[in-house]
Amino acid sequence: MVDTTAVLGYATPLVVSPGERVRFHLSSASLAAVDVAVVRVRCGDPDPAGPGLKLHAMKAAIDGHHPVRHQPIRPGSFMIVGDRPPLATLASFAFGCFLWPTLPGNGALQTVAARWDAASGAGWRLEIDGEGHLRLVVAGGGRRAEARAPQPLLEREWVFVAARYDAVTGNLALDQRSLDPQAGRDRSAGAAAVAPPALAWPSATPLTIGACAVGAERGRPLARDHYNGKVDRPRLHASALDADAMRALCEQVEPRPGDPLLVAAWDFSVGIGTEAVHDRAAGRLDGRLVNLPARGVTGANWDGGVASWTAKPAHYGAVHFHDDDLEDCGWEPDLALDLPADWPSGFYALRMRATAADGEPVESFLGFFVRAPLGKASAPVAFVASTATFLAYANSALRLDQVHAEAMLEGLIQLSRDDCYIAEHRELGLSTYDTHSDGSGWMYSTAQRPILNMRPRGNSFNYVNDTHVLDWLEELGFAYDVITDDDIHRHGAALLAQYRTVITGSHPEYCSRAMWDAFDAYQRGGGRHMYLGGNGFYWRIAWNPALPSAIEVRRDVTGVRTWEGEPGEGHHAFTGEPAGLWRTIGRAPQRLVGVGFDAQVFDRSSWYRRLEASFDPRVGFIFEGVAADERIGDYGLRNGGAAGLEIDRAEPTLGSPPHLLRVATADRIGYGGLPTPEEFRTAHRGLDGEQNANVRADMVFFPTAAGGAVFAVGSIAWPCALSPRGYDGNVSRITANVLRRFLDPTPFAGF
């Protein structure tokens, strides 16, 4: 068994231009050194039934034996404010906020707010103890006191909390008031204690919300005892303000900044798309967020009057912290490579080999991409690396955590070594298919971490499947460039317009508005698009304008969703744009590529039969060398057929154009084909593929303006049927027929 996880790493940047420097950040908990080699990936799939791993050694300057070290990952989000006057010199103080705890009583300490010096054990902490009780702790000079609420907090229910310390009397008090105190939800309670008066607070200590600071590592703040849940409108006052007065202060979105005792009034509704935290008080104790907690989430005052944070930011003044949020591992780079200017674009990887202590061979990869830079196209064909989709699925634990997985897949789940590693190492950060430890959906994904399913030998979906297209292009001798979603988002249609044909792969599911617009403009401008997959252009995403390779996905309340967003949280924090399915925003995939996601079918894949339109002479080129009654793709590496896993159909009411020719279909899918939720209005029996002709994969062609065209196959399984039968089965033949014709600039006549 090859060990694929003994050493892990990531590249910065994820997408590199020839001539640029790429850094590799590595870590191993067990190895002292590894042999590295840079490879260009032709096929990353080790499946013995397919082409097998095909990796071209680039003979890079960094190839060779290199030491590695262990570099830890520090997940968990929080807000931090560096030490500033008057934090250290406060005598009495009061802290208040609204809380929506999502894991109270999980056995762990969870910090709501703290200014605590762990080394000296001095400062103050407002926290939820392991049993779910709110607690205020103050300490200094070797003396300590605490007040603990007699009732535990209720999960996912808003509560106002206030804590205060009177430096003159030493009185310590805590109040919690349920915002919906009826029908068993009332957890309102108070607690008091007497602490030493005139406690001296530590100096040079940051104030944190959502965790307790414990120093710094490589210039990055470290914290522990992370809180899970929302915090809304936190305020800090330089007097022992009672709970009623503090409640009044917290209810105000914009408290009067002129109050000289108002130390801080943080407003999370300002700068929602950023990591900055704005303080409305005159002292400007602005903070910043670490590890990307969720913003643009509803606050305690949200009343359903609006459904977007952009419409009424004041109702979105909460941040949802998670103990497993992760933005960036922050590992030191171990290797740097100045990419030779003559390296071709492509899927690349750093291969790391060693022998583990138990004698097992180690072969681990980290994936990165070399782009064909804008203005430097080297071939008439571009293959799109679906980096947005790779990020959306990065380190998916779906098959580990989602209890429906085996039923959905209709068979025993097969876990790779990578899956087993993720099971134990949640610190890697999971995918937007997963839920945080508190059950809420994972909305952000970044590339500054090892991504186990975006590399050779990774699980057979997305990345690995897409390399079958690269393998096929190389086998048949088609010259191609690789461009990435990142670049299409940033450069738009100009990037695509350099190519006579652009190929999207097995599953270009995630798409920003700029990407969608770029493909649309490309197709309208005479570009030719071969969409060789299924479930493409389905979810809307947002790229973070400031953070490289960070995307946001919100599942909202429709679509095939492994979690459902909270009400009112269907807009991206990064951009304010509506989230969810492109279909619900008036851009069903059919509008762009003729077909759109209709069903999942994981038990067995099917084959296409030619339809009447396939004999139309205008599209005769597609089927050259394919007999009229031939079963198309009745073979393949994914469940035995070319039509399977996730499939798309044409639908005029969703935007399939009038000139579209539905040339073939796989419409005998069987009972394993289940329609997506948005494909039926009310549930009734008979919706499965055995009984429902709308559960199908359609192969379509349509011309676009200025000589452009689109060819789509509507099936994720298609690329993995290119190589069988010596690359000369009808799947390969049809794909090659279309590509050759698409490379011929002659417009498509007769439409």
Binding site: M1, P46, D47, P48, A49, R156, R399, L400, D401, Q402, V403, H404, E406, A407, E410, G411, L412, I413, Q414, L415, S416, R417, D419, C420, A423, E424, R426, S437, G439, S440, W563, E564, E566, D603, R604, G670, Y671, G672
Partner: protein
Amino acid sequence: MLVNDPASAHYEIDPDRVDLVAEFRRNPKGPHSDGLRKVLHRMRWSGAGGRYVLVVLDPGRRWALGRLPERRGAPVELFRNQVFDDVGTAEWHVFKLRWQALTGRTIED
């Protein structure tokens, strides 16, 4: 918060339907009869008797039986003495374990 509750799987398996057992043994991959589909969905959705999985030892060639942990973050349990060189045999092995867990009856090979 919408969740998928595996305890919702409540189809009652008739322990006397040995014909379904025989059908699965003959054809673990399917397509299956309506009756067998319901049995399998009860097994696969509920995870009764443990969420068994296969851990790939050699892609496409060799698998070991495993079991998912009850608690997030815990390791996948690996049964190194239960190794299969085809998925159908593994499916049959797990089917027997689950039939026992759900019906209290042992399937004799």
